[in-house]
């Protein structure tokens, strides 16, 4: 077991109140899993991802990576954000990737350059290596962010709705590319989304969260396609029912 969340309760503070984002959430991720956290907005799924990354400390429960408690951000858990402004605007595409590798003094520059080129090739952006981020399209920026995160070769790749701000065509294309990258590298992915369709396509395991506060509803396996069960109900319909059964009751 690579990553474990045990009874994690997360809160955040606004100007005048403390809000509980998730309550008593537990799950475990194995090596090479594509683990998707799926839930409506307000279920605290992004907050869970941020606490795995080490940006948010749980008020109760623990997050373990290889058995050690996560206390702060580190290059073994790299986040790909939804926002397009996650690339450093003052560095070119290749410099952005290289800086991520040399920043913590983890790789010498020559090795970093070679590895950066390798991953840039994987996301098919070699031609844009020397462009500045503001000249790229949204999809290209996300590709660079993914290449940068993968080049850091983290234990687990954390993805916070990375394709949510893209147009539908680009989104589908990016999902396929991500699956291809996973096939090549077998990297462990923790992926957060509010789209049932995306969860089915990306994940091999899907954790369903309810909203306000986020609690675990169920865990589901996915084979990557929206199959019907023995009763003829589609996987997406079953997920939808489980997520919203309270609202219908």
């Amino acid at each position: 077991m690579l990553l474990q969340a045990i009874g994690v309760t997360l809160q955040y503070r606004t100007a005048d109140r403390v809000v509980t984002a998730t309550r008593d959430v537990s799950f475990s991720v194995d090596r090479s899993d594509r683990f998707v956290i799926l839930g409506p907005s307000g279920c605290g799924k992004s907050t869970i991802l941020k606490s795995v990354a080490g940006f948010v400390t749980p008020v109760a429960g623990r997050i373990l990576l290889n058995g050690a408690t996560v206390t702060r951000p580190g290059p073994d858990r790299v986040v790909v954000f939804q926002e397009f402004d996650q690339l450093l605007p003052w560095k070119t595409v290749i410099q952005n990737i290289m800086f991520a590798l040399t920043a913590g003094g983890r790789l010498p520059a020559s090795e970093a350059a070679a590895r950066a080129r390798h991953y840039l090739e994987k996301v098919k952006l070699t031609a844009s290596a020397d462009s500045f981020p503001h000249t790229l399209s949204g999809g290209m920026k996300q590709r660079v962010a993914i290449a940068r995160a993968m080049a850091m070769e983290p234990q687990v790749l954390l993805m916070d709705e990375p394709f949510a701000a893209l147009d539908a065509l680009t989104r589908t294309q990016m999902q396929e590319e991500l699956l291809q990258l996973w096939t090549d590298t077998k990297i462990t992915i923790l992926f957060v989304t509010h789209s049932i369709e995306e969860a089915i396509r990306i994940g091999n395991r899907i954790l369903l969260l309810s909203a306000h506060p986020g609690t675990v509803k169920a865990e589901i396996h996915s084979a990557g396609i929206d199959e019907a069960d023995v009763n003829g109900r589609l996987l997406s319909a079953r997920i939808h029912a489980q997520l919203f059964e309270d609202a219908n009751a």
């Binding site: 080490g54 951000p73 790299v78 926002e83 450093l88 920043a103």
Partner: protein, 270 residues
């Protein structure tokens, strides 16, 4: 005969569309008006001609008087500017680490920013005496508030995503500040430097006019003041022209170049 999809504009139209050409023509017209009016007026004590001003400029450059004054002014300016930047950096650092520091910065800036630095000169003369200390004091006041405020605004405008990305890299705290925070806040920092420079330059010339000589040498403001006393009005105009030319050079050549190489190139222009 095939239809022509594109056709060149007439030459005069293309020249008219070019901003540099338009402004050059305007400048020439103004220069001609100056020269013409001064000749009609024919009173070099009130309003010397452009040619007289230019020859005074060349003469005092050749004699070494004007270059000495420029060097004197620039030395003083740099001392005050750098000291002001150091103070601004300390104040911004304080504002970045605590809410009280941020409140202090906002309060001090809103109190002192509307106060023209030159208004502090009489007080500075009592505190620091008739030396460069007084001028440096007003210069620091001119630079400090705008630089501190803009730099702080630059830090605050840095997106939370970018901060998290920086934290993800496992940088030391010094590395995080120098490699993420400062480049990220650079648009704000540069705005502060520009505004601070503009205040400092105007304040310094004004301060030198009031009081600008020590140990037998003075700056450009003093050059203007002294020649007015000697009724050498073309030299006064030459001094003013120098102030304008140097101001233009810093704002449109130096700062423009920095901008094009950094924030414009990075697409970070606010």
């Amino acid at each position: 005969m095939p239809e022509r999809l594109e056709q060149p504009l007439p030459t005069w139209r293309r020249l008219y569309e070019n901003g540099t050409v338009r402004k050059t023509v305007l400048l020439l017209v103004l220069a001609l008006m100056w020269e013409g009016y001064a000749r009609v007026l024919d009173n070099p004590l009130l309003f010397p001609t452009l040619t007289a001003t230019v020859s005074a400029l060349l003469a005092s450059t050749r004699s070494g008087e004007l270059p000495r004054a420029i060097a004197y002014t620039l030395t003083l300016l740099l001392e005050g500017y750098v000291l002001g930047l150091v103070c601004a950096a300390l104040l911004t650092a304080l504002a970045s680490v605590s809410k009280i520091g941020a409140d202090l910065l906002e309060m001090l800036t809103s109190m002192f920013n509307p106060l023209p630095s030159i208004a502090l000169l009489p007080l500075a003369l009592i505190w620091f005496g008739l030396g460069n200390g007084s001028i440096i004091f007003v210069l620091v006041h001119a630079v400090l508030w705008s630089v501190a405020l803009n730099t702080y605004a630059g830090f605050r405008a840095l997106s939370p995503t970018l901060r998290m990305v920086g934290q993800n890299y496992g940088l030391s705290s010094v590395g995080f500040i120098t490699k993420i925070l400062i480049p990220g806040a650079f648009p704000g920092i540069l705005t502060g430097l520009k505004v601070g420079w503009a205040f400092a330059w105007r304040t310094l010339i004004a301060a030198e006019l009031v009081f600008g000589v020590s140990s037998g040498s003075g700056g450009i403001g003093w050059f203007i003041f002294e020649h007015k006393n000697q009724l050498l009005i073309p030299e006064v105009f030459a001094g003013l022209l120098t102030v304008i030319l140097f101001g233009l050079f810093v704002e449109h050549v130096i700062f423009r170049t920095i901008e094009e190489r950094t924030v414009r190139r990075w697409g970070m222009q606010i």
